[in-house]
């Protein structure tokens, strides 16, 4: 198992280098000469311009610049936001809390419920529950999430005024203690529902398909013919194998969710990483944009790594090859 973990860690290194390379390429594709942007309206003397170029290493060849950039990134220095005038890492961390608050409960909820619905769907194939789950999953899969968010905000928040339209806290009231928590909870309902719906649909779909495949296998028939109760066969024998593709999907969906946070947090005015990214893009704040992209990419690599390790824990065949 230790060897397996080490090997997976080593395999992640080229990915990391690749992602830094993509970032570096994008930085260099960005329009405008950085020196002229720094100078603004001022006219620079040739000596001073040369001095600035030397200071920011812009006089070096691209390969050397890439190595310098990669070195800084590895040390955790992602540069400095032009718009917010603060270090990118610091900004990111300050916005991470709300994003986790939005995504973690939703993720756990929809993963558990999705597996359950998938199992119901697969074991009662062709029943009305199965048909309903399949149709809802297909619809949720075809829906622009932010549109569903807009409709929910327009209907439940603006028209009926049942729930707040956006943000993490009510701004006009100065709430303390338990009331403050309850207030945040109310703000969480709509975005959690919208995000959970699409994720739930995905998990249900994968669980159903995977479980149907496994239930057709010989060992399941053997378990049944031993006289084991159907519930034991489904949950203890079949689901254990069927869950592996579901784990892959969960690992991959972390990346999709982080990407989708830009849309979700824009619709619900949520003060998280997605909105920070959106502001960075609108302000053409390249260091911030690319810094956030880099951090999210690394998060996805780590998530995939964890997925693989969960695999190995679930399935001895994987860790022994």
């Amino acid at each position: 198992m230790t060897i397996y973990i080490l090997r997976r860690l080593l395999q992640a290194i080229p990915l990391l280098v690749g992602i830094i390379l993509i970032n570096f390429t994008l930085v260099n594709l960005a329009p405008g000469d950085p020196i002229l942007i720094i100078a603004g309206d001022q006219v620079l003397s040739p000596q001073y311009e040369a001095e600035l170029r030397a200071r920011f290493n812009l006089d070096r060849p691209p390969l050397e610049r890439f190595l310098i950039y990669a070195g800084e990134v590895v040390q955790g220095n992602l540069g400095y936001s032009i718009y917010f005038k603060r270090p990118v890492t610091e900004l990111f961390l300050s916005r991470l809390g709300p994003t986790l608050l939005l995504f973690v409960p939703q993720f756990i909820l929809s993963a558990l419920l999705g597996v359950l619905l998938g199992v119901i769907s697969a074991t009662r194939r062709g029943s009305w529950q199965d048909t309903a789950a399949t149709i809802i999953a297909l619809m949720a899969y075809s829906l622009p999430l932010f549109w569903l968010g807009q409709l929910c905000v327009g209907f439940f928040a603006v028209k009926l005024q049942w729930l707040p339209a956006g943000g993490l806290y009510s701004l006009q009231e100065d709430l303390q203690g338990i009331e403050r928590v309850a207030d945040a909870g109310r703000h969480l309902i709509l975005p959690t529902f919208v995000l959970a719906l699409s994720h739930l649909a995905l998990v249900t779909r994968i669980t159903r398909a995977s479980l149907l495949d496994v239930l057709a296998l010989d060992y399941v028939r053997t378990a049944r013919s031993k006289g084991l109760p159907e519930r034991t066969v489904t949950y203890r024998h079949a689901l254990k194998n069927a869950i592996i593709p579901v784990v892959t999907t969960l690992g991959l969906s972390i990346g999709f969710m982080l990407s989708g946070s830009v849309l979700a947090e824009t619709v619900f005015s949520w003060p998280g990483v997605g909105r920070l990214t959106y502001q960075a893009i609108l302000q053409r704040d390249y260091p911030l944009m690319l810094g956030v992209l880099l951090i999210t990419s690394i998060t996805v690599i780590v998530a995939n790594l964890i997925t693989d390790l969960v695999y190995a824990a679930l399935d001895p065949r994987i860790r022994n090859t």
């Binding site: 080229p14 829906l143 622009p144 327009g154 603006v158 893009i281």
Partner: protein
Amino acid sequence: MGAEARARTDVPLLAQVQERSALAEFWRRYRRNAGALFGLGVIALLFATAVLAPVLATHDPTLITRSAFDPPSPAHFLGSDDLGRDLYSTIVYGARITLLVGFLSAFVSTLIGTAVGAAAGYFRGVIDDALMRVTELFLVTPRFFLVLVAVAILGPSIWNVIVVISLLSWPATARLVRGQFLTLRERDFVEAARASGVQDPRIIVRHILPNALPPIVVAGSLQVGQAILIEAGISFLGLGDPQAQSWGRMLNNAQQFLGRSLWMAFFPGAAIFLSVLGLNLVGDGVNDALDARATDR
């Protein structure tokens, strides 16, 4: 030589007959699926709308009038927006942008994915390793983030949007095609072609690719829907082509008037939803029809 000549005349005829009956069989299976037929209808409607937009539209979609925020009425079938522009006519013309972005970027990304996957699966070894590392890299980078950053850097034209979506959507197809090629290259007919001195590129394109095509088509049709959703997201954030009144852009405009006129958000979003649903139903239908044939054998 004589045997080869005979084979050349015989095989196409046999293949033609088989192909025709396979196609008929495919359609027979496809037709049984109500959802798949519905999806096909939606896509046909979408194409018809795009082609006949000037005939179907009741107003000039860019015409600014004084009747702003009208609810649906005989004058404005789907209401009007904040500048008094007709929502129905804007949606009708928007079908063109949706189809252009959806199909073109799905086509290009499928092309790239097929080329990469075919090369990796056919040649294996170092080429496979290198190509799969790159594929994996694109697979782990959060795609929508990267699309937004790339569009922001390259500038918001519809062509840039298409290029960026295409360049970032191929990895899934590449993996699929590679898997197909890995199995197909071991088959006897490929061995026979290689033994009779057929060159690698010809084997890949003429011998293996036709056999790998069905799953590629399914993946491609699902990709169209994904591309439409990505474009809608870009435009919703106001980062799309300012010249193109796409459905996503209409949703961007609607965001500030959610309380005042929910129509402005409802109809363009419903158009996106219906189109993507139709494409996914067609993709699933094609997949099921092909799959059923495979399990029957």
